[in-house]
């Protein structure tokens, strides 16, 4: 059933992948190597593992054995190594260059963290082992909790959420549980227009209606509009700070006081915590709940889209409603509270968010990162990330359009005014960055400016690296302004693929390999 059967003379090469300008037999060009799917190179006989023979045994499968072919393709070990190595080379990555994705904090991922996470005492322990055999794991979670609470100035933290959006859900559920305990049914969550899409999606999952708050001319929450939206039906405000325009919300303390005055809670999206870590404690600003993306501020690898981790720090008012499980200090050892129960002191908890205890592997990496930096290094992280972003902004402000005056935090926002009349759109400009060897910046987000370009260099970049990046952008701006539209309209020219047909992909979705479509 695999492609290698029959057709002995047909040598399968990547030249079969389509495209008109094939100049080599293989489809490869030097070190630019194409790679077929495992289903086009493997078969159902090959394997890359040696397993001992299966001993004689009586089947106890209840007569439900799987008899038909599954269709899996196998590869030997060297083929597997080569296949995925070749694929890896078609990716851009932090290890290869500056990754200016605003709001994503693509910083260096230290390999020490990887090494520590793989120690058998962390990697090879089961979540349901007797608690006496995993005291080190509970201590680690407790230590990480201490660092997070100290850095945020908050009294409690829920450690089980598995990603940022999961953390948002945790925060909003705590808020709803707290309101219900007070016997109040509120229906509205306020969120600024510039909010991440996860904010309204999470609010909806908690049964809330979202009301958008407009931004002011200077890219911040319109305090007057916010105050006039407040009322007894408002459960919370969800606000990112620093916000998605890369700006610190100057009125944040007043916002906190106003929401508290009407009995609502302040949820802070902590995606941009990198800008203020070690410098400002969200607890001092009046925040009730904030998730922390360990994969942003604390350098756990993005891994091509995950796994993340999103612990949520909570105020005194919300901490009784935190999800299970959590670690407590018992009389002579750490203990785990795994159930909602008055007797265990978790009677007000809104419940469980995930099986087991959360993203332990990510917690190990994050704590390793924190210990390496210490309080001094973390404050430096915030300062250098803010310095790098402002340096980019200052170095480009004469040729690109800065959206908001004044210093930014760890990311700087441009819009597309500087491209007016050039025939080059934000998307084309960003795709041309690929030809210069860069990953594009965040585009068309936040939605509050036209053709947004959000650049976050992070503290991991040297001055030399930032200077080169600035040079590349200045060169692109010059091309755009001088009418060299070709540099943009067809970009990228020098990537593993040219621009891909996303509309076609969505219209007729092909989501898996199958023999008839091969």
């Amino acid at each position: 059933m695999m492609n290698n059967q029959g057709r002995q003379t047909d040598i399968k090469t990547a030249a079969n992948l389509g495209g008109g300008s094939q100049s080599t037999f293989t489809g490869n060009q030097g070190l630019e190597q194409e790679e077929l799917l495992i289903y086009e190179i493997g078969d159902n006989q090959r394997t890359g593992v040696d397993l001992r023979p299966v001993p004689e045994h009586k089947s106890r499968l209840g007569g439900l054995t799987r008899d038909n072919d599954i269709g899996l393709a196998g590869l030997s070990e060297p083929e597997t190594m080569r296949h995925y190595t070749r694929l890896s080379r078609q990716n851009y990555a932090i290890d290869m260059g500056l990754y200016p994705l605003g709001s994503c904090t693509m910083k260096h991922n230290p390999r020490l963290n990887e090494k520590i996470a793989r120690l058998p005492g962390f990697a090879d322990i089961h979540p349901l082992q007797p608690v006496s055999t995993v005291q080190g794991a509970l201590e680690l979670n407790d230590s990480l909790a201490h660092w997070l609470k100290t850095l945020t100035g908050m009294p409690a933290v829920a450690m089980s959420p598995k990603a940022g959006a999961h953390g948002e859900l945790c925060g909003l559920m705590s808020i709803r549980a707290a309101l219900e305990k007070r016997g109040e049914e509120r229906t509205i969550v306020l969120a600024p227009e510039s909010a991440h899409g996860t904010n309204p999606a999470t609010a909806a999952l908690c049964g809330y209606k979202v009301k958008a708050i407009p931004a002011t001319e200077d890219g911040r929450v319109d305090l007057e509009a916010f105050k006039s939206a407040l009322g007894p039906d408002v459960a919370a405000i969800m606000l990112t700070n620093p916000n998605t325009c890369g700006l610190f919300e100057r009125d944040i303390i007043e916002i906190a006081e106003a929401i508290h005055a009407v009995g609502g809670y302040f949820y802070c999206d902590g995606a941009n915590f990198n800008a203020i870590v070690g410098k400002v404690r969200p607890g001092d600003l009046g925040i009730d709940a904030m998730h922390i993306n360990l994969h942003k501020t604390f350098s756990t690898p993005h891994g091509g889209g995950g796994p993340g981790a999103g612990p949520v720090v909570l105020s005194e008012a919300l901490s009784p409603f935190a999800p299970v499980p959590y670690v407590i200090h018992g009389t002579d050892e750490f203990e785990l509270v795994e159930h909602v129960s008055e007797e265990l002191g978790s009677g007000d908890s809104y419940g469980r968010m995930t099986a087991f205890h959360g993203q332990m592997g990510m917690n190990v990496r994050a704590l390793t990162y924190m210990m390496s930096h210490g309080s001094d290094g973390l404050a430096r992280v915030a300062e250098d990330s803010v310095l790098n972003a402002n340096y980019v902004m200052a170095s480009l402000s004469d040729v690109m359009s800065v959206s908001f005056e004044g210093p930014c935090m760890h990311e700087c926002l441009f819009d597309d005014r500087f491209l007016e009349g050039s025939g080059v759109a934000t998307l084309d400009f960003a795709k041309a960055m690929i030809d210069e060897g860069y990953h594009p910046m965040t585009m068309y987000f936040p939605l509050v400016v036209h053709g947004a370009m959000l650049i976050e260099p992070t503290e991991s970049e040297s001055k030399q690296s930032v200077d080169q990046f600035v040079g590349a952008l200045r060169s692109l701006v010059q091309s755009a302004k001088s009418g060299d539209t070709e540099r943009f309209s067809g970009a990228p020219y020098h990537a593993p693929r040219r621009r891909l047909d996303e509309t076609g992909a969505a219209r007729k979705p092909v989501l898996r390999w199958s023999e008839d479509k091969a």
């Binding site: 599954i70 890896s88 979540p127 993005h302 959360g358 935090m409 990228p492 040219r498």
Partner: protein, 448 residues
């Protein structure tokens, strides 16, 4: 500080270019009383060697599964992961890449996801799969929400054979939506009248396969009954190796299959990160949560891959999205795919057979002990024992003797007296003959 490249000179030059005196001038929008004057009260930075030493000492306060005879499963399984897998996922091009939103320079991640989706669809025998969920339990919650979107009905019935923590997650995620979640009492025998519970309000029935207590049941009749009432069958597979040996959910008529993929390619990691598998039928694809990778062509007509159907997702649809999920399990899906590619059809089936054979051996030997009963008629690599004593006490005593004996069920059902003496035991291909001997001998000793 080894991770920070800017020198004092660099910083000075950059401040000059920006036109400020010191870095705190850039924090001028922070309310004055909130900008810390001193460092927070935490230790200062440490060199690599010292961090490594401290963390190693901490790790040694745990007993790793590989050090002892180990028989614990219950949704997380200790399998052997080939060294190729862990090497490959640590390549920086995979490890340090973001979500593949720029497909021209993310084909590596995207093609691997396409292969992953194909593998998941194949092993579950479903039409399509997404690019993964956080883990099996959160995927289970998403499946219930999806069933409501598809059927426009609200009531989900959760089998008593579903992992109780999964049931709790479903209860939590539907707490403030309009869904009604009915959770059945635990069913150790695997016998339940689920068909009799279906009514016109039912959106779906969620069953686990093999179930939490290890039983393997045929859900074909349940699927038929559900489809007759325009409701869906959600099948949850927490030990994905099982599908190398037992009939596929797709052939039983499942509409959504949720899996915990940790067993393939991923370590125990004290419960996370894991990888949630999520597969469904083609006709429901636009109601599926999470990221999806699809095939397309580039401007030169070459085959390539992109994230697609994003109009379902939060960054486009905001409050109307199918889910609030943003990330997937990224690197854990890659580990899954690489391990599955190494296994192939032959290896996957062989691995499943080894797991089953070890469990059959252990079950026979334990069943022969005085006062110990295996409660299962059928099982794959995990089964339930009734002991003549409190299972928690037995497990604690065996832990003192250096054997991790399994899960005393009362840990997950603390208020259920019927669980007191029950122990859930698992084997895998990593279980050796010596470990089986040690377990049987020590258990005999403890039960004396």
């Amino acid at each position: 500080m080894r991770y920070l490249p800017l020198s004092a000179d660099d910083r000075q030059q950059m401040l000059e270019k920006i036109g400020v005196k010191e870095v705190n001038d850039l924090f001028c929008d922070v309310p004055e009383q909130a900008l810390l004057k001193d460092l927070v009260d935490l230790p200062r930075h440490m060199n690599e060697m010292d961090v490594e030493r401290d963390m190693t000492i901490l790790s040694e306060k745990n007993i790793p599964a590989g050090k002892v005879p180990f028989f614990l499963g219950a949704g997380a399984y200790r399998h052997h992961v080939p060294s190729t897998v862990d090497y490959m996922i640590q390549r920086g091009e995979f490890l340090t890449a973001y979500t593949p939103y720029q497909p021209e320079i993310s084909q590596g991640t995207l093609q691997a996801l396409f292969e992953f989706q194909t593998q998941v669809a194949q092993i579950t025998a479903m039409d399509v799969a997404n690019a993964s969920m956080y883990d099996g339990s959160t995927g289970c919650g998403e499946a219930v929400l999806m069933a409501r979107r598809v059927t426009r009905k609200k009531k989900a019935i959760l089998s008593g054979g579903l992992n109780p923590q999964y049931a709790e997650v479903v209860k939590t995620v539907t707490k403030y939506t309009e869904d009604i979640t009915e959770i059945n009492d635990p069913s150790v025998s695997g016998v339940e009248d689920l068909i009799g519970q279906i009514d016109d309000e039912t959106s779906c029935v969620v069953v686990q396969y093999p179930d939490f207590f290890g039983n393997i049941n045929d859900y074909s009749a349940l699927a038929e009954a559900l489809h007759a009432r325009k409701a869906l069958l959600v099948m949850v597979v927490t030990e994905i190796v099982a599908l190398g040996a037992i009939r596929s959910p797709g052939t039983m008529g499942a509409d959504i299959v949720v899996g915990e993929g940790q067993s393939i390619g991923n370590g125990l990691n004290f419960g996370g990160p894991y990888v949630g598998l999520f597969a469904t039928r083609q006709k429901y694809v636009r109601q599926m949560p999470g990221r999806v990778c699809g095939q397309t062509v580039d401007a030169d007509g070459k085959r390539g891959f992109v994230l697609t159907l994003s109009t379902r997702e939060q960054h486009i649809r905001r409050e109307k999205a199918t889910s609030n999920i943003c990330t997937n399990a990224g690197l854990c899906t890659l580990a899954f795919t690489i391990h599955m590619t190494l296994l192939g059809e032959k290896g996957y089936r062989h691995l499943a057979a080894l797991n089953h054979a070890a469990a059959v051996d252990l079950a026979d030997r334990l069943d022969a002990l005085d006062g110990v009963d295996v409660l299962n008629e059928s099982f794959f690599n995990e089964f339930t024992l009734r002991l003549p004593k409190d299972a928690t006490e037995v497990v604690d005593r065996l832990a003192d003797e250096g054997v991790i004996a399994g899960l005393p069920l009362s840990r997950l059902y603390p208020d259920n007296i019927h669980m007191k003496n029950l122990l859930l035991v698992a084997t895998t291909e990593t279980t050796t003959e010596d470990q089986l001997d040690a377990f049987v001998a020590e258990l005999k000793e403890v039960l004396k």
